[in-house]
């Protein structure tokens, strides 16, 4: 027989006004298994807690029910008190007779009856409760950051500055990401490279950061505090330890006319190349598909001219395993391709806008490169087809974004601002030019953003036309843009020299595959899902994995940097302890009854269920059962409700406890 103590709180008058607390206490004393019951004015006060502690000792209580406010309010308080009295904290529960009873009912008789019922429920629960010990897992104080754009760089620097080791992995040959491609940034128009490149150099020079460029995530195993991540280092064909970055290989390479990806295909590069002059690391990589040596076996010029002998045509992909305790995912975004429908994607192309077919229809990122001093035109706005300066430029917003019929219903968030910036940059560089913008709405929330947009309209003379473009076509040297101005209610036709499409921000290629490796969830657009939209915006539902930047959804630079620092702070919090302690509400498998159907594995949202082989002494396989990794289990209990043989049980919410509660109704 249990010896439960019931403590009924008056909460001043909050409970006692509508609930007869003395009656609830005396009724509780009648419940079988209750050894002691009393009521007190303020249970959460010091004397109240002492009363509880004293009663536990005096009456040899083996469980406690505090009938007071919501457990969300004071469960920790009373569990701590119970623990101080020598009781297992998980044998202390709260009966919520304030939020769920006294505050919501006026009839004293009904409220008192309900309060008694609630106490009875909780007494039954505690009677069947078990002592639980918090689960501790060790923490490897080393972080992995995936993605070397501004988000990854910021997170890596913050964590490294706090004194922890960071492994930064970037799939491209250089870190920098999209921000390195931008010309100037809104709303201050400061040069992107000027603020970006020092951070890139900081990463390269930081003693706590190990940088792996041209590398990808191959496999992720383990759980919070204890991940084992296999990295694939793609063959660079240049030995990073020998290369001095002199660049002579690039000047001598005979293959010089390869479209440069960094300039959106508008500049040219060699087959052995660094993506851009400020690349970090400044170590070239051989593009094997375009290299004569790899294609025909005849050339080898770069190897001949390389002083330190760093060029290595035999190099192969290499794998390494990194042990880390936390992962920051910062894989960023890509821009919507409007001419081609991406394979397997629900998203339709925008063939009617002529991108890909008409050379002077470009996307926003290409415009950034044209406007950038380090770009293919040296910062002059020249149109791609004939290199002439465009005098009439049409910008079209929401291309792909907010177009449900095209498969994307979200707003890409940055386009309104960057289009306003583009009109300004254009106006600064082509004084006699005219910019037109077709837009649905100008969405400019952010510090100094609306002022910036107004400046584009009022001072920089951009003509904003509210309406969408129906069609555009080539007519001689011009591109005829046909659209509607819905404010005036007329059809508009503009003969443009250049058309810039503000295409939608999309999840990075392969984002879904990476998510599957990491065991994190993603939405239908392949953007990664945070644990809680409001209160856990950087955490993944998978413990130990954090999100930073546009991989979670379209974001501008300030938001990305904030989130990256937030993710870094979360990692530092995790690393502040040697052992992780977590609530022991986790599922456990009864191996005796488990038939190994693994239905639990299918429904587990955390991937916490593994297969476990049971062998006899001779090593013969007896059976396969499910095993729940307590470090990964989130404690939702879906496995238990699913298990056909009822052989998995969630501690703290066992069938026995719940059935006992229902029986007492």
């Amino acid at each position: 027989m249990s010896r439960i103590g019931v403590f009924v709180c008056h909460c001043g008058e909050n409970i006692s006004r509508t609930v007869d607390v003395e009656q609830v206490a005396s009724a509780a004393g009648e419940i079988p298994g209750v050894a002691y019951a009393c009521d007190y004015k303020y249970m959460c006060s010091d004397p109240g807690q002492n009363l509880l502690k004293k009663a536990v000792a005096e009456h040899k209580l083996d469980g406690v029910v505090v009938a007071a406010c919501s457990p969300r309010m004071h469960e920790k308080t009373f569990r701590k008190a119970a623990s101080a009295a020598g009781l297992n904290p998980y044998l202390c529960d709260m009966a919520n007779i304030r939020e769920h009873c006294s505050w919501v009912h006026e009839d004293k008789k009904l409220a008192t009856a309900k309060a008694s019922d609630i106490v009875k429920l909780m007494v039954e629960r505690v009677k069947k409760g078990k002592s639980l010990a918090p689960i501790t897992v060790p923490v490897t104080k080393r972080a992995l950051v995936i993605g070397g754009g501004i988000a990854g760089i910021q997170a890596a620097l913050d964590i490294a500055d706090a004194g922890h080791q960071v492994v930064l992995v970037e799939r491209e040959p250089s870190i920098g990401g999209h921000m390195a491609q931008l010309s100037e940034t809104f709303p201050t128009l400061d040069c992107s490279q000027c603020i970006m490149t020092p951070k890139m150099v900081d990463v390269a020079n930081h003693p706590n950061i190990t940088l792996h460029t041209y590398s990808e995530i191959e496999k992720v195993e383990g759980y919070i505090g204890n991940f084992q991540v296999t990295l694939k280092h793609k063959a660079r064909s240049v030995d990073e330890s020998k290369c001095t970055g002199c660049g002579i290989c690039m000047t001598k390479c005979p293959k010089k006319k390869i479209p440069n990806e960094f300039d959106q295909g508008h500049g040219l590069r060699t087959a052995i190349y660094v993506p851009f002059p400020q690349a970090v690391p400044n170590t070239p990589v051989i593009d094997r598909e375009n290299c004569t040596m790899f294609q025909s076996g005849k050339c080898g010029v770069c190897a001949k001219v390389c002083g330190p002998g760093a060029v290595d045509y035999q190099q192969e992909d290499r794998f390494s395993v990194e042990a880390v305790g936390a992962v920051v995912v910062a894989t960023g975004f890509k821009l919507y391709s409007i001419d081609r429908k991406p394979e397997g994607s629900p998203i339709q192309g925008y063939g009617e806008f002529g991108y890909g077919a008409i050379p002077d229809v470009i996307d926003g990122m290409t415009f950034e490169r044209l406007a950038s001093a380090s770009g293919p035109t040296g910062g002059k706005i020249l149109r791609p087809s004939d290199g002439k300066e465009p005098k009439q430029v049409v910008f079209i917003q929401c291309v792909g974004s907010r177009a449900r019929e095209k498969g994307i219903s979200y707003c890409s968030k940055v386009c309104c601002m960057y289009t306003a910036k583009h009109t300004m940059l254009y106006h600064h560089k082509v004084h006699d030019g005219q910019a037109y913008v077709f837009f649905m709405d100008a969405r400019t929330p952010g510090k100094g953003y609306d002022e910036f947009w107004r400046r584009a309209v009022e001072e920089e003379e951009a003509v904003y036309i509210r309406g969408m473009v129906s069609r555009l076509y080539q007519k001689g040297e011009k591109i005829v843009v046909m659209g509607s101005d819905i404010q005036v209610g007329v059809q508009v036709e503009i003969e443009a020299d250049l058309v810039v499409l503000a295409t939608a921000v999309q999840a990075q290629d392969g984002a879904d595959l990476l998510a599957q490796k990491l065991g994190i969830s993603y939405d239908k657009y392949n953007f990664y899902s945070e644990a809680h939209a409001k209160l856990k915006p950087v955490e993944c539902a998978t413990a130990g994995i954090y999100l930073a930047g546009a991989c979670q959804g379209p974001k501008d630079i300030p938001d990305t940097v904030s989130q990256a620092s937030a993710a870094a702070a979360k990692v530092m919090t995790l690393f502040s302890k040697d052992q992780l302690e977590r609530d022991p509400v986790v599922a456990k498998v009864n191996e005796k009854y488990c038939v190994g159907c693994l239905a639990c594995k299918k429904v587990c949202p955390y991937g916490a269920v593994e297969e476990k082989e049971i062998r006899d002494r001779q090593g013969n396989l007896v059976k396969v059962v499910a095993y729940v990794n307590p470090g990964v289990c989130g404690g939702c209990g879906t496995c238990q409700a699913t298990c056909p043989s009822k052989s998995v049980e969630l501690d703290g919410y066992t069938d026995e406890q719940i059935m006992a509660m229902i029986e007492s109704l």
Binding site: R72, R98, E99, L110, H532, A533, V603, P605, G637, T638
Partner: protein
């Protein structure tokens, strides 16, 4: 809502199975906002609606509940990512079974109440309570139990020495 307390002939027993993250917190909010609703509901807290085994619902009905409410986070908002989807799917199938068994589905309510929806909690609970009150007590399980016991009694009719007469049945029914 200071309606005078009405006297009802029948006070239904409503059992609510709720998840701790959304609906329980929503009910807390109804409390802190001092909203009023019928005192018939008894709340059982679960980590997630995904934890709720349909057997619990059956058991609640069997143990005298006149109405059952299952409520969790809105789809997509689950604290455990997908628990409420599993629950939704499970209960879609379970409803059909309950219907087949002969339980009036109006006695069973599923809803999504978020932590911010104290008002919705009040609405859902009030609506279900009043609906069930109008329907009257849930007798299906009780009559089933009655039948079972009678048939067990009848099975003993062949046993020598046990008398089985219409008078006896009448007497039994009066119990």
């Amino acid at each position: 809502m200071h309606a005078e307390a009405k006297q009802h002939d029948f006070e239904p027993k409503i059992v609510a199975f709720v998840c701790t993250w959304c609906t329980y917190a929503g009910a807390d909010l109804a409390g802190t906002s001092r909203m009023q609703y019928p005192a018939n509901v008894r709340v059982l807290k679960f980590p997630c609606t995904g934890r709720i085994d349909p057997v619990f619902i059956l058991r609640a009905f069997q143990k005298g509940a006149d109405g059952v409410l299952v409520s969790g986070c809105h789809p997509g908002d689950c604290h455990y990512m997908a628990g409420n989807f599993h629950a939704r799917r499970r209960f879609a199938a379970f409803r059909a079974l309950l219907d087949f068994v002969g339980v009036d589905l109006h006695r069973l309510q599923f809803s999504w109440v978020s932590a911010a929806e104290g008002g919705k909690w009040v609405e859902v609970v009030t609506e279900l309570t009043e609906r069930v009150r109008a329907m009257g007590p849930m007798l299906e399980f009780k009559s089933l139990e009655h039948e079972e016991q009678w048939s067990a009694f009848q099975a003993m009719a062949d046993v020598p020495g046990v008398v089985n007469t219409p008078e006896l049945k009448e007497a039994y029914d009066k119990i």
